[in-house]
Amino acid sequence: MTFEVILQLFDSSLRLATPFLLACLAGLFSERAGIFDIGLEGKMLAGAFCAAAMAAISGSAWIGLMAGMGISVLLSALHGLASITLRGNQLISGVAINFLASGLTVLVGQNLFRLGGQTPQLKGNARFSEITLPFADTLRDVPLIGPVYHDLISGHNILVYIGLAAVPLTWWVLFRTRFGLRLRAVGENPGAVDTAGVSVVRLRYEAVILCGILCGIAGAYLSLGTSAAGFVREMSAGKGFIALAALIFAKWQPLNALYACLLFGFLEAIGTKYQNVDVWGLFILPVQFMQALPYILTVVILAGFVGKAIPPKAGGQPYVKEE
């Protein structure tokens, strides 16, 4: 395995990890505030569709991104209405959102574009194009640093960098600001927040809306920032659920979330690059196995093989004012 191959592998890991990362941080805001969100998947899918549809119509990726975020925030608000205001079951509400997104994207897509639920191929400004960072070309020939900077760090679209920047930003918001302190508190003991004179309902809505924004970006990345260049039905392909697994793996910590998502991205990159792997001439790992790697890791994580992860204490429970 040459240096060049490793760089390529890492490069595609980063691209593939970005939707996981954005969705994972989205879930982090929501779950830290005590609202379980199994609907990350659906919000991503709806976000991907709206982003692609609006980009196709308007010809602008940015308008597409706004639309993706908009629909995702709308679904988040729906989840909030069901689970915060109406105190319904958060899992059921999340599942409902997944079904809703799965059906509506295809239905509306077919009605709009008559392409079997897909959107037209996006070209030019309707996609997020790759950004070449300053000096990437001049530094290219410097040994070691040059290729790393040019091939790995430079040359991604803006959403990849937004995802990466969101990690320290999330950490800072959670652990260094008043909002973060209250958000974490409301996921652990909403009663403490309420008696301190802060509105539990408002805080939880804010968290859920933040979740929607990040999920929308994740969705827009799928349709506007990858080689798919448009919306394909069910294109989120369980990524929202993998992001949830990564969130548990990361123990609800932003920096850990980055590592966990990079690991999932890496596994997916391997699965794409190596189709049939010959294991020392003994047997051949089939392509399906390689592609299943991220999902296998998900199962392993959810089965609790990576140590005990303690979720926010009040997670999943609607807050009822009572002793």
Binding site: T177, R178, L181, A185, T195, A196, G197, V198, E323
Partner: protein, 528 residues
């Protein structure tokens, strides 16, 4: 410790709090009916009443947690609207809830500033809180490590964090709801010192409790509530526990239990080297041994969470343990959790958590009355069908005998009050005529009138020659009922005493972990 009661209280100043005609309804329940209360500034004012008398509701209204249906709140002479907790805090009212409102994974500092931050960024608030906590610690004996994570602190320290939270918000009026329920006697003493300090600095303290001794100990005046109404407000020095109890219940109450000396017989229950390790691998019981004879009550005292629940669970067949338990000389199998086996061994169990383990809340009284014994021949017919007529008759008889109110066997268990729920459990277990009776927290959340009744029933079973193990966190209950006392601390029995030869102080030290090592019964250091 002698409280210097209310020295130098300015008579002319407006009362700290005046409640006028407060009423509050929860569905059909009238929790507060036209309640009026005046609390003078700079006093410790107690509020007593039975469970469900409306004390907590009244305080939650004052703290803005509930909105009153009618009435006015006057704080320091100014009529004040308190629609939410924020308004209460702004009016200088702080509250320490019975169940602490702390974020357990946060540090003390983070808990203190939560909701009272100075700005968008945390750092300046935390720094200011750290400085202020230092001052408060010195002024009021309120030392807590500001960087400690709350879940690692003892209950007593967590309570201090709650008080600090209120003081950080500049509370002048501090409400404490049943603050001593979870404390050891020495922790409670420390709390009372803090409260006296606060009063001497000019703060007003409202103390809600059902323990009359605390009222007599620490308050300057006391108000009594009964069934949602305010019955009286008295100067503490001018009243007595007997008078207060009568006001609370509405009739004369015997505060002490009348009982004859016990006549212990043969050993019925013999526990040797019993250990329990929980699912996470933590040892909860560490090789305890004791025995109970027929015709005696062994009381198990201790602050909750020191292994009493695990002991009850093993004896009741709810969870397994290791070691030996002999019932009338016969070793029983405790490697498996088997409640039915315990029942056929002649052990009856009144669980400490009646709502979770003692009753099926959604089931009617008649179903609950035979639960666990429903397979007994008397209740069955052929083919495993139940004999409803017999069960109905049994249920009616017990409702009469144990004075269960309302007397309706078709009512779901959840519709009865705490005391009456307990009577349902007790009738079921006591009427089995067991050899051995295991009773956990028999009067937790039960009102005074029912407590008296339950205590008399337990004594009657003792006099009928039963071996009784009584686990309770109420030291008064242990002292008045049991013949011998074993004190549990950290999964061990830290000492065993004859009730007549010991006192609250000595048991309090054992509860705090002082053991009998070296035969010395006086510890070197007083625990905090």
């Amino acid at each position: 410790m002698n409280g210097d009661n209310g020295t130098g209280r300015p008579e002319t100043a407006a009362p700290a709090i005046e409640l006028r005609g407060i009423s509050k309804r929860f569905g059909p329940v009238r929790a507060n009916r036209d309640v009026c209360l005046t609390v003078e500034a700079g006093e410790i004012h107690g509020i007593v009443g039975e469970n469900g008398a409306g004390k907590s509701t009244l305080m939650e209204i004052l703290y803005g947690f509930y909105a009153a249906d009618a009435g006015q709140i006057v704080v320091n002479g100014v009529e004040t609207e308190i629609p939410d907790s924020q308004a209460a805090i702004a009016a200088g009212i702080g509250m320490v809830h019975q169940h602490f409102k702390l974020v357990e994974t946060f540090t003390v500092l983070e808990n203190v500033v939560l909701g009272a931050e100075d700005g968008v960024l945390l750092r300046p608030s935390l720094d200011r809180a750290r400085a202020l906590l230092g001052n408060l610690a010195q002024e009021y004996e309120l030392e807590v490590d500001p960087d400690a994570v709350v879940e690692t602190l003892s209950v007593g320290l967590q309570q201090r964090v709650e008080i600090l939270k209120a003081l950080y918000r500049n509370a002048d009026i501090l409400i404490l709801d049943e603050p001593t329920g979870v404390l050891t006697p020495s922790e409670a003493d420390h709390l009372f010192r803090i409260l006296r300090n606060l009063r001497n600095q000019g703060k007003t303290v409202l103390l809600i409790t059902h323990k009359l001794r605390e009222i007599m100990d620490v308050t300057d005046s006391v108000s009594v509530m009964r069934r949602g109404e305010m019955k009286a407000t008295l100067r503490t020095e001018a009243t007595s526990p007997e008078e207060l109890a009568e006001l609370m219940v509405g009739r004369k109450v015997l505060l002490s239990v009348e009982k004859r000396p016990s006549t212990p017989g043969e050993i019925r229950l013999d526990v040797e080297n019993l250990s329990v390790t929980d699912k996470t691998g933590v040892a909860r019981l560490k090789g305890i041994s004791f025995s109970v004879r027929s015709g005696e009550i062994l009381g198990v005292a201790g602050v909750s969470g020191n292994g009493q629940s695990e002991l009850l669970a093993v004896l009741g067949g709810i969870s397994p343990g290791t070691g030996q338990i002999r019932v009338r000389g016969q070793t029983i199998d405790i490697s498996r959790a088997d409640g039915q086996a315990r029942r056929s061994d002649g052990i009856a169990h009144v669980p400490e958590d009646r709502q979770r383990l003692g009753l099926v809340m959604a089931f009617a009284q008649w179903e609950n009355a035979v639960f666990g014994y429903h397979a007994a021949p008397a209740y069955c017919r052929q083919l495993g069908l139940t004999n409803r007529r017999t069960i109905f008759e049994t249920a009616d008889t017990w409702i009469q005998k144990y004075d269960v109110r309302p007397a309706n066997k078709n009512l779901a268990a959840s519709r009865f009050s705490g005391g009456n729920q307990q009577k349902i459990v007790i009738s079921r277990e006591f009427e089995r005529n067991p050899d051995i009776l295991i009773v956990g927290q028999p009067t937790r959340g039960v009102d005074i009138g029912a407590i008296e009744f339950i205590h008399r029933q337990i004594i009657a079973l003792r006099d009928a020659g039963k071996a009784i193990l009584l686990v309770s966190v109420e030291l008064d209950e242990i002292l008045s009922l049991s013949d011998r006392v074993a004190v549990m601390f950290d999964g061990r029995i830290s000492g065993e005493r004859i009730t007549a030869d010991t006192d609250e102080r000595e048991l309090g030290l054992l509860m705090a972990g002082m053991t009998d090592k070296g035969g010395s019964r006086t510890p070197e250091v007083l625990p905090e």
